[in-house]
Symmetry: C2
Subunit: 149 residues, 2 copies
């Protein structure tokens, strides 16, 4: 018995990456994947960050979100300073395996500014052009108290 | 009357970008922002893509999602080939203004493989190590029929 093979892509490697079940993360030139974390309870996007190979492996092994900070140039366990950790409920890979979606239980708040999500401003347009307006922007913690020198 | 200014960041420019209402997208070295599109109805992440300045402006002006394709090196109106457009219900900017979250009404399916979302495989671990398994992987369209040569 034969199964039809997908014929959209012309490269067997791409077919495999898109249609196969092998875990083949495709890191960019800087060795990173994009990761989107959403709140498992509300569905809201909490943050967009990056994972290198080590962050990805530690996240999978521990069930807690680890990232690679591009600004600090180092591995980073989410919540290591603030205590606001993320427990991973589900992890999904996208079609070409260069982006990860994690649904998480967020302890405390995700954003370093103290908000639940990093996306606390909506983009709006009007007579004054394009602007931002606060949405769900209440602070759940005081960043000055949490991130002490 | 004076208002307390945020004191977490040491740079006035960063404070402005994080706490202000000015629309100041921070494009990366390639001139791109990361964009996460979620389904306004289900909250599921549909895709992760990129916008350059023109894609961002066209999205805001038209209310339809435009992206910049890194692989094809050109601007791209979502659905221009497939008809599977995205109507933007809400657009949000993240804290440091280098990522955008759009909640969209997805016409048809978001993924070029025919699935509703690009995230149709979960990452699982077991005796065989880390693998993928299909989740919500039913095809809503036949990519061979939609993307004709």
């Amino acid at each position: 018995m034969e199964f039809a093979r997908p014929t959209v892509s012309t490269s067997a490697d791409i077919n495999d990456r898109e249609e196969g079940l092998a875990f083949q993360p495709k890191f960019d030139a800087s060795g990173l994947l994009t990761c989107v974390a959403t709140d498992a309870a509300t569905g809201d996007v909490l943050m967009v960050a990056h994972m290198n190979d080590e962050a990805l492996r530690k996240t999978i092994a521990s069930g807690e979100a680890w990232y690679f900070s591009r600004s600090r140039g180092r591995l980073w366990r989410k919540g290591e300073s603030s205590g606001h950790t993320q427990r991973v409920v589900e992890m999904r890979m996208d079609c070409d395996q260069d982006a990860i979606w994690i649904r998480v239980e967020q302890h405390g708040a995700a954003c370093h500014t103290g908000r639940q999500s990093c996306f606390y401003r909506a983009v709006t347009t009007g007579d004054g052009g394009t602007q931002l307006s606060f949405v769900d922007a209440d602070r759940l913690f005081d960043p000055n108290a949490v991130y002490r020198k």
